[in-house]
């Protein structure tokens, strides 16, 4: 049975695309069939992760200018491009990685935005969106459909949440994100979880990986204290947040400077399988498998 997971957030920049792309690639590497959908239609970015320029996009499918096979791109060869954990060059798993991209063309984004404002076309688009999921399930025999959504309360993000059976709400632990997350939990998630959708918080860029700046990298008692306080405060915030929004935190991914400041977005989990970020993605997969069983 296909598991459909949507990554959502209140604000942008919380790591939805990074985590969803890396999760999809890692799932495929582990032998699953994963289909990643870029439904962040207003700011699509997955093309950068996969270095892929699709001829046909989800927009074409929605407007009936392409069939499902034209917009679902088989990127499984990527799995062989990077060494696996044991250093081997090739991927021996039978996993498959498929990705459907949103169009990055300004005109296409305007067109889609305009079409959802008209009742007639809005319904046609929703129907096609529902069909996309159904066709992926039936034609691609997907184990996982991973949806990278737009942030906030927007037409396509809500539709994505409605067709998902599991939602990961990614957030950073800053004041605005926390406030927005509470709003989402109350206004949107409550109605979805009542109908069986599982929703979890996914903390990104949490403290814990890098030490605060010390003098020449020395671990002074002062930096140690700041570090301990920050991590301690964070735990309190998370615990209170879980209680407030009635959602569990499935994973807390620390802030990795080496990912944040790289000039290109990349698939860390594939490229650097021993990076702690890849370990976090593996943990997420283990938790998903526990949910499935």
């Amino acid at each position: 049975m296909t598991k459909c997971i949507a990554f959502h957030s209140y604000k942008g920049g919380t790591g939805k695309s990074t985590i969803s792309a890396n999760l999809s690639a890692s799932l495929a590497k582990k032998g699953f069939t994963a289909v990643l959908l870029d439904v962040d239609v207003y700011a699509p970015s997955l093309q950068d992760y996969f270095q892929w320029e699709p001829k046909k996009s989800i927009n074409d499918y929605l407007f009936e200018n392409a069939n499902v096979d034209e917009v679902i791109h088989d990127l499984s060869t990527l799995l062989n491009k990077f060494p696996s954990n044991n250093g081997e060059e090739t991927n021996s798993s039978k996993g498959k990685l498929f990705v459907a991209f949103s169009s990055t063309s300004k005109d296409e984004i305007y067109k889609l935005d305009g079409a959802v404002r008209q009742e007639g076309s809005k319904i046609q688009l929703l129907r096609k969106f529902l069909m996309l999921r159904e066709e992926i399930v039936s034609k691609y025999n997907a184990d996982f459909i991973i949806i990278d959504t737009s942030p906030g309360i927007r037409y396509w993000s809500i539709n994505s949440l409605a067709i998902a059976d599991t939602i990961f709400l990614s957030l950073k632990l800053d004041g605005i994100d926390l406030k927005g997350t509470r709003l989402l939990a109350k206004e949107i998630y409550e109605s979805l979880t009542k109908l069986g959708t599982k929703s979890y918080l996914l903390l990104n860029r949490a403290a814990g990986y890098c030490l605060p700046p010390g003098q020449a990298g020395e671990k002074t008692s002062e930096t140690q204290e700041i570090y301990s306080n920050t991590v301690g405060d964070q735990k309190t915030v998370i615990s209170k947040l879980n209680e407030d929004v009635g959602m569990d935190t499935i994973l807390s991914i620390p802030c990795y400077c080496d990912i944040q400041f790289d000039s290109n977005e990349f698939l860390t989990a594939l490229r650097y399988p021993n990076h702690p970020f890849a370990g976090n993605i593996d943990t997420l997969i283990e938790k998903l498998q526990e949910m499935k069983s």
Binding site: G120, I123, L126, L130, L161, I188, L195, G196
Partner: protein
């Protein structure tokens, strides 16, 4: 004919079929907590109200539990209800029925008790109506039914040996046949889990029902499914029901027959399978929860934007056989041509691949609505012409076997309408335009209404070489239509200007 009261039956079969069901044995399967016992109670209380006599056989409850179960039945009706627990049945060797050959004293005693009860009711009925015939069957016939409910067979298997229970059921079936009455037998589990028993008793059951539980976070949703019914061509159907606080079964909605066309309340596409209902709106099975989620997230008022409507947009293909009503053509030849047309269209790839379509036979042809792709009607026209070309290689005009069609294609809105048989059908400008456009053409023409032709021309350059503007034409009621003709010499279509157009 006395009425039989099978809960939910009217939602599962059409009225005519329901009226024909006056006797027989019904099997009801259900998982635990499916509501079997409450279903039995409902059938009994409804039957008592219809002045039937009821025998309730349950090997797992005590008399006190039975009294609690039926505490809402009036005293007047209660006298027509007899409770029997085979496990607690006193054994009287002298009265044991050797003909049953059950070799299980308690089951034999239960059978005896059933017969005795029926005899008592028969005589009481006979006593009140002078001159009626004697005998149990005749006494119930025309006055009241005897309804026997056995709840449950699964529990009986835990107490008695299986072959003895099967013999008991077999003997019971003869009693029912004699009485021309009705029995309900329940089993725990599903069709697949009960396969072995079902195989042994398959000839006995006239109707097989199954309750399915659908987990819902808010409430348990139960579905009563008709799996089979003897002697009718009824397709499987189902209806959703809930159990009220007082234990009564409430059937939500009369099920829609498969021949009806419903429009999904979420995606507004026709529902080709059996619809699911929510707030009286039909949905595709996969779309109910999504609709509910969207309603919760957007709000009910906002989600109504994507909610149900009686109007859908589609592209239409209208075809008829040229000269079919020619009196020189024999009826046999006419039928051959209609069958050949149906067969050819049925084998066209475009027709086979289109999942969202609606076919309306028109006598000498058909109209097909394609709900999703505006390209499908033209592609079907091309496919059909190619199939016709092959077909006509073996025909000739002299003997009337030569076959020609004219095709009209248009798009537009259609309304969902109920026809005289209460089936939902489609009718509206979209289908009417296609008909009008077709009427302009002669044999071999594939004509398109302006808006659809222009949208195809804008969609793909490949159409520029095959779709040609004919001009404007005044059709019925003075309406002016812009008409295009699709053709490719020697492949499909007819490059000639239609005769009506010239005039």
């Amino acid at each position: 004919m006395p009425e039989v009261s099978i809960p939910g039956l009217s939602s599962l079969v059409d009225k005519a079929t329901a009226e024909k069901i006056t006797s027989g044995i019904i099997l009801l399967m259900s998982p635990p907590s499916g509501g079997k016992t409450l279903f039995c109670r409902q059938m009994i209380t409804d039957s008592l109200q219809n002045e039937s006599g009821c025998i309730y056989i349950n090997s797992s409850i005590t008399r006190k539990e039975y009294e609690n179960l039926f505490n809402q039945v009036t005293d007047a009706n209660l006298k027509n209800l007899k409770f029997m627990n085979p496990y607690l049945m006193p054994i009287n060797n002298k009265e044991a029925d050797p003909s049953a050959s059950i070799n299980e004293p308690k089951l034999s005693a239960t059978l005896q008790e059933i017969r005795k009860t029926i005899d008592e009711w028969s005589s009481s009925v006979t006593n009140t109506i002078e001159g009626t015939q004697q005998g149990s069957a005749s006494a119930f016939n025309g006055l009241a039914k005897c309804v026997i409910v056995l709840d449950s067979l699964t529990h009986m298997f835990t107490i008695f040996e299986e072959d003895k229970v099967l013999k008991f059921v077999n003997a019971l079936s003869f009693i029912i046949k004699e009485l021309e009455s009705i029995a309900l037998i329940t089993m725990s589990g599903t069709q697949s889990s009960n396969e072995s028993v079902l195989n042994k008793l398959s000839s006995i059951f006239d109707i097989v029902l199954e309750i399915e539980i659908q987990e819902d976070p808010d409430k348990v949703k139960r579905k009563l499914k008709l799996l089979s019914i003897k002697g009718t061509g009824n397709k499987s159907s189902s209806t959703v029901f809930s159990i009220e606080q007082d234990g009564k079964l409430k059937f939500e909605k009369e099920s829609s027959q498969k021949s009806k066309l419903s429009i999904c309340g979420l995606c507004k596409a026709p529902i080709l399978e059996e619809p699911e209902y929510y707030l009286d709106m039909p949905f595709h099975h996969n779309h109910v929860k999504i609709y509910m989620k969207l309603a919760g997230a957007f709000g009910q008022a906002r989600v109504s934007d994507v909610g149900p409507s009686g109007v859908i947009d589609a592209a239409f293909f209208f075809v008829d056989v040229v000269g079919l009503s020619d009196p020189a053509l024999s009826v046999r030849r006419q039928i051959e041509k209609i069958e050949a047309l149906n067969d050819m269209i049925g084998h066209c790839e475009t027709f086979k691949k289109a999942s969202d379509k609606r076919v309306l036979p028109t006598g000498d042809g058909m109209a097909i609505g394609f709900m999703l792709s505006p390209e499908s009607p033209l592609q079907l026209g091309i496919d059909l012409h190619q199939a016709l070309k092959k077909y006509n290689m073996h025909t000739n005009k002299e003997d009337g076997s030569f076959f020609d069609v004219r095709i009209g294609i248009a798009s537009g809105s259609v309304f969902i309408v109920n026809d005289v048989n209460s089936n939902q059908n489609i009718w509206g400008p979209g289908i009417i335009f296609a008909r009008r456009v077709m009427d302009v053409g002669d044999g071999g023409h594939i004509l398109l209404a302006g808006p659809l032709a222009e949208s195809l021309l804008a969609l793909d350059d490949k159409y520029k070489s095959i779709i040609n503007l004919l001009g404007e034409f005044q059709v019925k009621h003075g309406q002016i239509l812009k008409i295009y003709s699709a053709y490719s010499p020697n492949e499909f279509g007819n490059p000639a200007i239609p005769i009506r157009f010239k005039s």
